[in-house]
Symmetry: C2
DNA sequence: TGCAGAATGTGATGTAGATCACCTAAGCCC
DNA sequence: GGGCTTAGGTGATCTACATCACATTCTGCA
């Protein structure tokens, strides 16, 4: 399935666009390919695009002063990612994005998104719902952080994204859960 | 300042509505007053409204199996709150909302919001941006949870909302930070 | 105005998970 | 294909915070 069809199927779940409108919208996306390990956004960069994943897996992460990494999001096909804080506030990137595997993405600039949203009401509708889902997911994860211990969060993650177990090295899963790789290792070796 | 003017000032920061459009939009909001301690949404309720705070302070919270409370959000004037998960997915409330002080709010039904969004492009624009800000705040809080210890999060919270220190009992601040009230107490009594 | 319940402080003790140190196995690259 | 880097496992120790227990205000309201 080609990128255009994937995006079309994705958007048509929440918004009704005519073919002309969709073609117009799609004309603002630039396809791009990346190799495993390649950076898409690095800390300190100027950020002016967001990315829609067609294939592969990205991670959006934050590195703190003690060089510890925290993963905010794994981005799988049909997910969107970027440093949205930097993108919307026109500040430098504090969140980085790179490729866990080879990946194809569609790039959309902040400017183009805003232009399209103001020109096509249904596009604005789509982006409202997309953000909405992100907000709900983020709240849910926050609650899980407060309420559950590491083991419960690990199981929750694997129940939600079983593919991750094989696709993603364990120390990245630890960085998503916010625990040390040692603790995670002990965790799933204990109950087998 | 009356509720209508407060909402108008709030919305006009991100969207441009004509007076007629705003009047139409405003006609869908129902003002309501609550007393300190009163519940607005209780676990298990059917949720069909969201709430815009005019005065007072609300809290949105979750109670887990061990009857421990976690506060997702303090809602101050010009903030919006609800159990958005339940509201958008038409499920029963898992998040509750009640009043920390006497409060006035404007109620907007989910149905009316969607109707207005489809009728007025700029209203949809406003709600996209509102959700966006919520999403960014939620991501920031998640990062803070992973990266900072309790003391840093406590100081961050008070730096952001100095009013809270006097307005809100300490055990609620602990419930927001996700620590026990004992730990919080020891924390700010240590460094004085 | 007096008292019941809520809010807060503080000691003692238990524990999940961090950190450090070191080891093994598996990719990957010239 | 040999060496080097990255991923992963495991023991020992340390620490922030939870939990329990109880004392001490504060506060709203009968």
């Amino acid at each position: 399935m080609d990128p255009k069809e994937i995006l079309k199927a994705h958007i048509s779940k929440t918004a009704t666009l005519t073919d002309e409108q969709f073609d117009y919208l799609f004309s603002h996306f630039k396809p791009k390919s990346f190799k495993k390990g390649q950076a898409i956004i690095s800390e300190g960069d100027k950020v002016d695009h967001e990315y829609f994943v067609i294939s592969g897996c990205l991670k959006a992460f934050f590195i703190n002063d003690e060089i510890k990494m925290y993963i905010l999001q794994f981005a799988m096909p049909t997910w969107w990612t970027s440093d949205y804080g930097a993108l919307y506030n026109h500040t430098r990137a504090t969140i980085s994005v790179d490729c866990i595997s080879d990946a194809e993405v569609l790039c959309l600039s902040n400017e183009d998104r805003e232009k399209i949203c103001s020109e096509i009401h249904q596009a604005e509708h789509f982006f409202r719902w997309r953000t909405n889902r992100g907000y709900l997911a983020s709240q849910k994860r926050l609650l899980s952080f407060m309420n559950n211990d590491t083991k419960a969060r690990y199981e929750e993650l694997l129940a939600m994204y079983p593919q991750l177990y094989n696709l993603v090295p364990k120390h990245l899963i630890a960085a998503y859960l916010g625990v040390s790789r040692e603790t995670l290792s002990r965790l799933y070796n204990a109950h087998k």
